[in-house]
């Protein structure tokens, strides 16, 4: 077993990045995720593993530093919170178009605008449906614990390289800030330059005599060429849908009702299940772990066995659209949300279940 530690979610992300063999972190301070870079700067991974940590002049610069680093094959990441992630969207779109692997962590806070520094899940659409311009998707992971914050960093890097795609961890201010026990995986050595070159024959890191020059770009002025690029991306997303779906079912076997929730909301629903079951309401929880690819078949299988579904989100109703598309219209599906940085209590979740689904 790895090292056991008590850590904040943000710190777990930072430590996991070092241990995953990350080559470079580029970021800009914003609450509630600033601990990621603070931890890295204090921990000096440049001495531990040789990892570069750089405070950029803006999120725009940070995401383009990722583009540059990833385009040479290096393992790079950034983290930010909602307004900063909005600023990054052009760069993320470029990276999706140029098929560059990288990890982007969004510790979501309430919006719109400057909003609040309190936790929220209101960036679901932005993360899952593309976010920037053009037809692209990110592989999106939604951790619900500090342990998953750590594990998803490694998983995210693995998938980023497997599919040559940017991967996003969509978390929130509560999971970023809360402290929990976490089992840290052992240090994975950073790849040598030679290993990077061998692993990424597509990367622009200096042309040897033995090959043509590599070009990293998202531009193809010929519409036929650009359509081919799009078809290639879509084929890649299809593969992800077939192979990368992750989810968790909690007390679904005998469930008559179902919560569907991700991240922090799923944690609250777990408590709500206990409260509801104490009252004799048989309710379970379906928790998507990958938000793209969405567990379409899996949530449909469980959802079509129950009498009603309550989708619980810290937003005005975003994932519910995917739940409805997956489950269809035979089962009653309602949404319960708090927004603007308010975390719903398990009691209100149970009340919403009773009012909107059982009584409604």
């Amino acid at each position: 077993m790895g090292e056991l530690k008590l850590m904040k979610g943000n710190e777990a992300v930072a430590e996991a990045a070092i241990r995953a063999g990350c080559d470079g972190y580029f970021g800009y301070p914003i609450t509630p995720q600033s601990e990621v870079m603070e931890y890295l700067m204090a921990e000096k991974p440049f001495e531990r593993t040789g990892m570069v940590v750089l405070q950029a002049e803006s999120e725009v610069a940070a995401i383009n530093m990722l583009y540059g680093g990833a385009g040479t094959g290096k393992m790079v990441m950034t983290s930010s919170s909602s307004p900063g992630i909005s600023l990054m969207q052009e760069g993320i779109s470029y990276m999706a178009g140029a098929e560059l692997p990288a990890l982007i962590v969004n510790i979501v806070r309430g919006g719109p605008g400057l909003g609040t520094i309190q936790p929220s899940q209101a960036d679901y659409f932005q993360a899952v449906k593309g976010g920037g311009h053009g037809d692209y998707k990110l592989l999106v992971l939604a951790p619900a614990s500090v342990q998953e914050m750590c594990d998803h960093v490694k998983l995210g890097f693995d998938k980023a390289y497997q599919y040559r795609t940017p991967v996003m961890i969509l978390s929130d201010g509560a999971i970023g800030q809360m402290m929990e026990k976490v089992v840290l995986f052992d240090q994975i050595p950073r790849r040598t330059d030679e290993e990077v070159i061998a692993q990424c024959p597509w990367a622009s890191n200096g042309r040897p005599q033995t090959r043509n020059h590599n070009i990293i770009t998202s531009l193809d002025l010929d519409p036929a060429g650009q359509e081919r690029v799009n078809l290639k991306l879509q084929a890649k997303y299809k593969l992800m849908e077939q192979h990368e779906v992750l989810y968790e079912e909690i007390q679904c076997e005998d469930a008559e009702y179902l919560f569907v929730a991700f991240g922090l909301s799923a944690r609250i629903c777990q408590k709500a299940i206990d409260l509801a079951r104490a009252k004799g309401i048989k309710v379970g929880l379906f928790r998507p772990i990958t938000l793209f690819p969405f567990p379409v078949t899996e949530v449909s299988n469980v959802g079509n066995r129950v009498k009603g579904i309550l989708v619980v989100e810290m937003n005005a109703g975003q994932m519910i659209e995917d739940v409805k598309l997956s489950v269809g219209c035979k089962v009653k599906i309602e949404h319960f949300g708090r927004f603007g940085g308010i975390i719903p209590s398990p009691d209100e979740v149970v009340r919403a279940l009773e009012q909107k689904i059982i009584g409604g």
């Binding site: 040479t72 790079v76 200096g206 042309r207 020059h213």
Partner: protein, 272 residues
């Protein structure tokens, strides 16, 4: 006749008979630039320097968004195409993670001095050990001749059709002088590529910049004042004359910072 022609060609191609040859680091394909434009010459000087230093396997270039967006199709080295204005951010990360490689950006004035001002200033201020090549043609060439941050007062463009009115449109930005004041910047010069003499000087400046990069001296910034005959709506010859008469007095050619020290103003004036 055909036999004779073939013979003549092979004769000329003999190594001992070759007096001039395009560098192999320029890809064999027609440039996409307008006839008369300076980009092609700047590309070639850059590649000749890389070839003469024999560093092509260790050089990574970043192209901008602008007329030179397709520079990566012409330069036979590994390249990345940046988003508009962000080349210095890419170059920063690349150099940090490949410190023994040579890294350059190649950018237009809109790219470097308008949308990418923050990335330019901060890469310079961090003293990134890279080379920035800045093509200043005083206009947005690629998008059809709109006003650039470097458009001269009174100069017409499609978005300043009555001439740049500095009262409402602001003054042309001498970003090169601006970055020269930053301590992280080691070498700053302003050159041109419209005459053989200027081409030679530009090549020397490029060579110096890459030699300095080898020595980890800090950032080198090379501005090349260039024409845009299409955007300026002139013939190539007229545009070069116009550039000499109007651009050069405002954007004075010569070294601005050498060995980390600002060159005295009068020296700049005396240079050209």
């Amino acid at each position: 006749m055909i036999m004779e022609d073939t013979f003549a060609k092979t004769e000329i191609h003999k190594p001992e008979n070759i007096v001039y040859k395009k560098t192999d680091l320029m890809v064999d394909r027609p440039l996409s630039y307008c006839p008369g434009c300076g980009h092609g010459t700047a590309h070639r000087m850059l590649m000749e320097v890389i070839e003469e230093m024999n560093i092509q396997d260790k050089t990574i270039g970043v192209s901008p968004v602008g007329c030179s967006v397709l520079a990566y199709d012409f330069l036979n080295i590994d390249m990345l195409g940046a988003a508009h204005g962000r080349a210095p951010a890419l170059a920063t990360a690349i150099k940090r993670m490949w410190p023994n490689h040579f890294v350059f950006t190649y950018q237009g004035d809109g790219d470097l001095a308008a949308i990418g001002t923050a990335e330019t200033i901060h890469a310079c201020n961090r003293g990134e050990n890279i080379t920035i090549i800045f093509i200043n043609n005083g206009i947005y060439g690629m998008t059809g001749g709109q006003m650039a941050p470097t458009t001269l007062p009174g100069m017409r463009s499609s978005t300043s059709p009555y001439g740049r009115d500095v009262a409402t449109m602001g003054h042309p930005l001498k970003i090169t002088e601006l970055v020269a004041h930053l301590p992280g910047v080691y070498y700053v010069t302003r050159q041109a590529v419209h005459t053989p003499n200027h081409v030679r000087k530009t090549k020397k400046a490029l060579r110096k910049a890459f030699e300095l990069q080898k020595e980890n001296k800090g950032l080198s910034f090379i501005e090349i004042v260039s024409n845009c005959n299409s955007g300026w709506k002139m013939t190539p010859v007229q545009s070069n004359k116009w550039m000499e008469d109007n651009m050069f007095p405002f954007y004075q050619l010569g070294d601005i910072k050498v060995d980390g020290k600002l060159v005295e103003k009068k020296e700049i004036a005396g240079k050209e």
